[in-house]
Amino acid sequence: MILRVKDLSVRLGGSHILQGVTFDVPPSGVTALLGRNGVGKTTTLRAVLGEVPAVGTVEFGGEPVLGRPTHRLVRSGLGYVPEDRCVFAGLTVAENLRLAVRDPDPDYETVHDLFPELRARAGQRAGTLSGGQQQMVALARVLLNRNRLLLVDEPTKGLAPAVVSAVASVLARVAEKVPILLVEQNLAVVRRLALGAVVLSAGRVAWTGAAGELLGDAGRTRTLLGVGRAA
Amino acid sequence: MKRFVPLVVLAALLALPYSTLRIPGVFEGGLNTPGTLQMLAICLVFGGLALGYDLLFGRAGLLSFGHALYIAAGAYGTDILISHFGWSLWASVAFVVPAVALLAALLGAVALRTTGIAFSMVTLAFAQVGWIVVNRDPGGLTGGEEGLPLDSAGLPSALVGVANTANLYWLALAFLLVVVVVVHGIDRAPLGRVLTGLRDDERRVSVLGLSTYGLKLGTFVLAGTLAGLGGSVHALIVGGASPHLASADLTLSLIVMAVLGGAGTRWGAVVGGIAYAYLDQRLTQVGGGLPGPLSQPLFVLGSLFVLAVYFAPGGLTGVLRRRERPA
């Protein structure tokens, strides 16, 4: 297991957002982290990264990492693609990428191969890009470096259907090399990419297993995720 | 039993001018000497001013850097009407306090369009205008850097003369009592919970369908009004108004008082204000005898404050409460 989360709890502003979350992420393929809005998916990722104070255990590559500063954890090979992409709007595309480089030999080849558009737009301010293009920048930032695990938070949120499928294809290619923990609302994307699935409900893990098993059972999908749009 | 502690303290404070007790090292003379009574009166006024400020800072979470403006407006307004225009004390106060409230409403309406640090800076800038005006002595009204002594001709005889210092002391106590009743009244009312909600998470309050802008403005005006009243009382006790009342340093010291005592708690700001004003005056009295920077009250108080932020985040009252708890 590349990531083991045990009894992870988070309290923020008096509310108990995570109440003992436990799950593992295998060292290959895509693991989906699912659940209704507000159950704590993003908080789980941010707690693993050390961006919110948490108690419990988090092991990354066999080492306990909870309490380690975010930047050191990231440098040990954990790539993060946040919700809403968080590209630096005032910086150019090239500057956004240059900032993210931490390996001595950044893999611009893969990035330009996956996103030829970014090379053409290198001098453009990231704030003026479309949502899909910003998502490319956000993904490119983690692909420049060698990582042992990627945390990817809602990469298709707010994107047009054609762009969603392009992003999903990129993630499928990336997942051949690096394991991904993926938060995703679009179940079609989950069905296409994910091997395993972890479902959160009210700050706890409600279900773990194979993604296909979960999505194959319409009733269970509805109770756990509260959606009827299982494609 | 604990409920009666404030009443016992109040009774003791009321009776204090009848005591001839001497506490060497703490006060220069006996408790009922005019010097000690005036010093205590100033402490009580600052206890009230600090609690009024804490309505903004500790309760509503509004970090205003311009509270001195309203104190100075109260002090100078009252002083000018009495000394230059020959108004009676009561007429002056009855005019000045609502006028200060209006001033707070106007400036607060602008400043509260911003939030966070920008709000702090805007209030600071507005108060700076007050500081400039007071120092420039427009039309000879404010007396510039020298300040404006209060003309005692317009005052009731009971408030004039060294022999009547006890009356000034009771006046200061009355002001503190008014602030305590108002602020604690708000704490107990549903409004108090809404205000702390505002401080902790503004979105939650606006979800309840309440206008956060209106609430904050109301609090700002109320705190400004109490400050204006306190300024008037201060002018009576020290016999005039001085530019220090309008300075940014005064607002900063109100923050220090609230935090030292325990911001947002029932009695924290009162205790902090009294302790600060006492130390400030006492260190000035004995300062000449202390070596180096210790002769500067602000050095001692500023350093104490920085230490308190690290080591006693709940302030004096927080420390006392922690002592109590394990027992």
Binding site: Y80, F88 | A125, V256
Partner: protein, 288 residues
């Protein structure tokens, strides 16, 4: 006409001082989220360090010493006082408030409350004629220094990796950490730069006013705050533009209006700007 030229250059000289203070404040606030009340203390430390060193080591070395003292104070304050309160912004502001009160009192206890005559290079106290106006040369020293600092800051922010980190951090410091960068090292850096610039302002302010006193930093600081808010928090270019506007407005209105009217007009300008675009100013600027 000669009055206008003199007022214009004097206003620009004042603007130069405001800019030197405001640019550091703005970067510190934009990146670290700290409203730094101790910034005026950095200025006073720089000014007094030069004043102290000038008769001992000569003015040139003393100026370098003053700037270094400002920078060292900035770095020290960040590492010792601000860093332990990481992310607790109100406490950080409170600590800088306490520090500014205690620091000014400390200077006062050592060198007294009264202004001290400031050493000046002889050429800076001479006068030159521009058209019909007699303009003191120190105005050009101030303006020249501020322009050089502006250009150097922009080059630093746009051409170096640390500049890139600072610009990104002003937008979103959590995301900078999430890219594997220790953003707190950048905090120390901006405090050091801010301290050095404030120290420079202290020395130049000494030349400009001809004297130094413990409270000098605090009174300049308030106008620098106004410049920072008008210019946009976190924006160096914005600070430069706002400093020029504020400096000129203040000089001209003070001369042609009533005494003190210039200072008041600056506050009115602040209120107007806030009324017209309140959210635009509360937000950090997108570009540095």
């Amino acid at each position: 006409m000669s009055t206008v030229i003199l007022l214009f250059l004097t206003g620009l000289g004042l603007a130069a001082l405001y800019f030197l203070i405001a640019s550091g404040l703005s970067l510190v606030f934009g990146l670290a989220g700290v409203l730094n009340f101790a910034h005026g203390l950095f200025l006073s430390v720089g000014a007094y360090a030069t004043w102290w060193a000038a008769p001992r080591w000569g003015l040139a070395l003393a100026v370098v010493f003053g700037i270094a003292a400002g920078a060292a104070t900035g770095a020290l304050v960040e590492v010792v006082l601000i860093r332990p309160l990481y992310r607790r912004h109100t406490e950080q502001v409170l600590v800088t408030v306490g520090l500014s009160l205690a620091g000014v009192a400390l200077l006062q206890s050592v060198w007294g409350a009264d202004p001290r005559t400031y050493p000046r290079p002889s050429w800076a106290s001479s006068v030159t004629s521009i058209g019909s106006a007699q303009v003191p040369v120190d105005r050009f020293l101030l303006i020249g220094t501020a322009v050089a600092v502006l250009l150097a800051l922009l080059a630093f922010l746009h051409k170096t990796r640390y500049g890139l980190i600072i610009r990104a951090g002003v937008e979103n410091r959590d995301m900078v950490s999430a890219l594997g960068i220790d953003v707190r090292r950048a905090f120390t850096l901006v405090f050091t730069i801010g301290g050095a610039l404030a120290g420079t302002a202290g020395v130049l302010g000494g030349f400009y006013f001809g004297s130094v006193s413990p409270g000098q930093g605090a009174s300049l600081l308030i106008f620098a705050f106004i410049v920072v808010v008008i210019g946009g928090l976190g924006s160096v270019t914005g600070s430069a533009v706002a400093a020029v506007v504020v400096g000129l407005l203040q000089q001209f209105v003070n001369y042609y209006g009533a005494a003190g009217a210039g200072d008041v007009s600056v506050v009115v300008l602040l209120a107007l700007v806030l009324l017209l675009r309140p959210s635009g100013l509360a937000r950090t600027a997108a570009t540095v």
